[in-house]
């Protein structure tokens, strides 16, 4: 008892390609395709030879992509007091809220600054694991950590080198952007660094 086999009918699709005699002849279309690709080649080659860039791709990491979104935030900075010390009070809120657990803070005591005696002696972010969610910025009670549009310049062959420390995070220097007024501290005594 075998059912008779129905002849195979090719299914028709709504977007079935239709070819005119021009496309069907193939060789002419080949010539057209070669003209297109050859034209692109000549255009890009002309750009390279005249010292311009003839490619849409960007050198990574030498070049920064031009098409990052306007809202993209790729790097952390630590804001500073007018004397250049971090606003951070080492409360560990950012480290606590961080979903990737990439922030490491060591708190220290600074007897010279009675208003803010607690400060971070070490503040490091592991960019190999950071997810750039911005929770640390939200959590910070002191407006001490923010995110900026740059990307950290960290590509490397070793994940242990993808950390940014306090020095790199503190190199953002808009002194006027600090919301609270602070009296300028007297210069530290010679032979004693402010972080000691």
């Amino acid at each position: 008892m075998t059912t008779p086999r129905r002849p195979y009918v090719r299914r028709q699709y709504w977007n079935e390609p239709t070819m005119g005699w021009w496309e069907r002849s193939y060789l002419l279309e080949v010539v057209r395709g070669l003209a297109i690709t050859g034209g692109v080649f000549l255009r890009n080659m002309g750009k390279w030879l005249t010292g311009r860039k003839g490619a849409l791709t960007a050198y990574y990491p030498e070049e920064i992509r031009a098409d990052y979104a306007a809202g993209n935030r790729g790097k952390h900075i630590l804001t500073q007091r007018p004397d250049g010390r971090p606003q951070c009070v080492a409360c560990n809120m950012c480290a606590t809220v961080c979903p990737a657990q990439v922030i490491e803070i060591d708190a220290a005591f600074d007897p010279d600054d009675p208003a803010h005696p607690k400060y971070p002696s070490r503040f490091e972010i592991d960019y190999s694991r950071c997810v750039f969610c911005g929770f640390c910025v939200e959590a910070c009670p002191e407006d001490a950590i923010r995110m900026v549009k740059e990307t950290p310049d960290l590509p490397g062959f070793d994940r242990d080198r993808m950390w940014l420390g306090k020095e790199e995070l503190l190199n953002w220097q808009p002194h006027a952007d600090v919301s609270k007024p602070y009296p300028v501290r007297p210069a530290a005594e010679p032979g004693r660094s402010p972080d000691a």
């Binding site: 060789l27 080949v30 395709g33 070669l34 297109i36 690709t37 050859g38 692109v40 080649f41 890009n44 080659m45 390279w48 003839g54 490619a55 849409l56 791709t57 050198y59």
Partner: protein
Amino acid sequence: MNAQDLAISLVYIAYALAVLLTFGAILTWVERKQAAIMSDRIGANRAYVRIPFTQVKLIWLGLFHGMADGLKLLLKEDFKPLAYDKLAYALGPWLAIVPVLLVFAVVPFGGTLDPGRLFPSLAGWFGGRTYAMQIAPIDAGILIVFAFSGITIIGAMLAGWSSANKFSLLGALRAGSQLISYELVMGLTVLGIVLIFGTVNLGTIVEQQSGTALGFLPAWGIVYQPFAAVLFLIAGIAENKRIPFDLPEAESELISGYFTEYSAMKQGVFMLSEFIEIAVIGALFVTLFFGGYNLPWMNDTGFVFPGGHAVPLSHGWVVVLQLLTFLGKVFLLCSFQILVRWTLPRFRWDQLLRFAWKFLLPLAIANLVVTAVALWAQQA
């Protein structure tokens, strides 16, 4: 053969081998870079050579990627399948690359060389002998070309058969039928040129192309046989098993086709033979259709422009100009083949054979018949 002939032949052979192997190596880079530029990319540019004891890194537009690849291929493990025909397996790569190199023996890469005039100190030794710049200036030129390029079929089929792998075997079968089909088309297209120039000697064919046709056009083969030129180029690319004719090694279907089971430098030899064959097909096309080593309106004594204005050149300049012209033309043809490879998608297997037998072959025969009738009418 006396000592002078031997010396000249050895110089020619060294030159030809150097040119072919350099082309094979450079074309890997050209292919990468041209493909990148055609598709708005930058291309491979990370490999570098550091000058020892300094921090100076030479990148040179990624030229060292070829060296890095060669080094890698040499150092990789030479993996062999468990059940394979040892002799045929070892023979495969050699049968793929040696005939390709041998084809170049009959291709003239320059006009007549007079070593005595070029180096006056050697004039006494050579005693006024002149040599055609061609390793083997024999009358059977085109026949040798087809004889040797036929051997590459055996190389591909041996490689596929001896690997004891179904993908390889499929690739070998495809290679066999494809190459035989397109060899036929290639032969028929060349017959038109043979009819017009009345010889199969490639040197003579090139010499006859140094005149003018219709008073002003260079008498190149492509002027007489534009149709055959297109067909020859198509068949040549198919002979070379490159996209859009790369069915024998279609990656998406057969992994690597007939050389799936070859690793390390054996696979590298197959790749190198493919790249050298690009240059050889370019050289053949230039010889048959593009006036060989001569610039338009140029012959062994200098330029003769259509108005009758002649610019004679010294022998040394002619030789240098001819060598450079030949290399330049071959390079342009190679670049065009790479352009085709990065433009067209691969055929289906039935389309490939239908294209050869139902389209190219009738066109080639029609071209031959029309040429023959036209020549007969001219002579009658």
